[in-house]
Symmetry: C2
Subunit: 223 residues, 2 copies
DNA sequence: ATTAATTTTTAGATTAATCTAAAAATTTAA
DNA sequence: TTAAATTTTTAGATTAATCTAAAAATTAAT
């Protein structure tokens, strides 16, 4: 392995990993350009380079998918990102809406010794502050099955285990209405017209949630 | 301040700070090229850029010195570097010879909130694992007066407060012969021919040190 | 099945950071 | 105080990452 990825290459690999639903599903040039806030022409150039390095599979006009080594790299970056987020929240008292941007920088620090010691220092956490699973040193992830709150029906119960994205405005709003990971939640009513919901939460009682919110909250698939 | 320094610019600013003995003393193009492991031609280009950004004073063929804003930036980077070193040693159990390289990366993470929270988390340390002073949030350093062990004479006593450089081989050697910060040391003999010394250390007793070593060890100037 | 719209790629430039080789200025030595 | 040595700067290229504009391929719509 005479390779060390540049910061840009790492960001491409991570984006391909996160956009691709399954490891095989191809990611389009435009989707990457959107995600990386760059232009399709730039992406075209870069994917040629990554393909040449055998990190992705690429056929012209057909999009890209990560190779085995590409996936391995992606998981390493994601592991670092999420471990640093745990550090920032658990030890530096950041709020969950403040850590993503800093972790975007810290995920590029190169030292496997550092990552593994950080992992131990944190107590080998399995999820990050947003409920996302943390890959272990070998890149393995243990992801419990979950569904969106918006997919639940009246009288269903479950436990909040994650949020779908890390938009600070969403996270701050959830803070404001006292929704956090680990809470038991029960759907008391679903409004057919706009998919808004009334839910019952411990202590808080019944609150109203729009579909904008319920489609961002992950609930453990019980049993 | 519409400025954010690139990683490269930060490294130049830091190098100028560390090479320049006093804030006024001019740093030569070649000295910078050596320190940054690059070529003089490259340095010439970059110092023009930094001068244009008013981070340094520069006159052709006369070398460079940091401006007030340049110094401020340098101190911010050095603060981050040393705080991260403390974290790595005190919380992740790295040895003092393993942290410099990782800190070279971490010092470029941009978030003043992060640095200040890290500072608090670490208990607002005033020195790093090598005895170097840590600038506070306002860039102030409190540096106790010190001298080199090699400058001491027979029967002088003092306390080891730092090492002059962070070469892992030096640090590992000091570990091996059980020399560390905080030890009381007494010069028992100085050999005029090669400036080698015999010193007395608590528990260890009398050991022999070459000038290569004694010129790297800092002793507090007592009172 | 053509045509139109969209997506993707190529062509040609630009910027930051770097290099080598050569010219210019400064410093050191004879 | 000239000449030699050293240092520093300039000139001209290169590489990575980016852009705009235009061409080519694919996909969607008549
Ligand atoms: Mn994140
Ligand atoms: Mn996260
Ligand atoms: Mn260091
Ligand atoms: Mn240090």
């Amino acid at each position: 392995m005479g390779n060390s990825l540049s910061l840009t290459e790492e960001n491409y690999i991570k984006a391909i990993f996160q956009i691709g639903t399954t490891p095989e599903s191809n990611v389009s040039t435009n989707a990457l350009a959107d995600s990386l806030q760059t232009k399709p022409a730039t992406v075209s150039d870069m994917i040629k380079k990554l393909s040449h390095k055998k990190l992705i599979f690429y056929e012209k006009y057909k999009g890209v998918a990560l190779s085995a080594s590409g996936s391995k790299e992606a998981l390493k970056i994601i592991r670092k990102h999420r471990l640093w987020e745990v550090f920032l929240v658990n030890h530096l008292n950041f709020k969950w809406d403040q850590v993503h941007e800093i972790a975007e920088q810290l995920e590029h620090i190169k030292s496997s010794e550092l990552v593994n010691r950080l992992d131990d220092f944190l107590g080998n956490p399995t999820i990050d502050p947003h409920g996302d699973p943390i890959p272990d040193a070998k890149g393995r992830v243990q992801l419990g099955p979950s569904k969106l709150l918006s997919e639940m029906t009246s009288h269903e119960k479950g436990i909040i285990v994650g949020v779908k994205n890390e938009d600070p405005l969403l996270l701050q709003h959830l803070d404001k209405i006292n929704i956090r990971l680990g809470l038991q939640i029960e759907v008391t009513e679903v409004n057919d017209f706009d998919q808004s919901m009334q839910v019952n939460l411990p202590d808080l009682g019944i609150i109203f949630l729009s579909e904008k919110i319920t489609s961002q909250i992950l609930i453990a698939k019980n049993s």
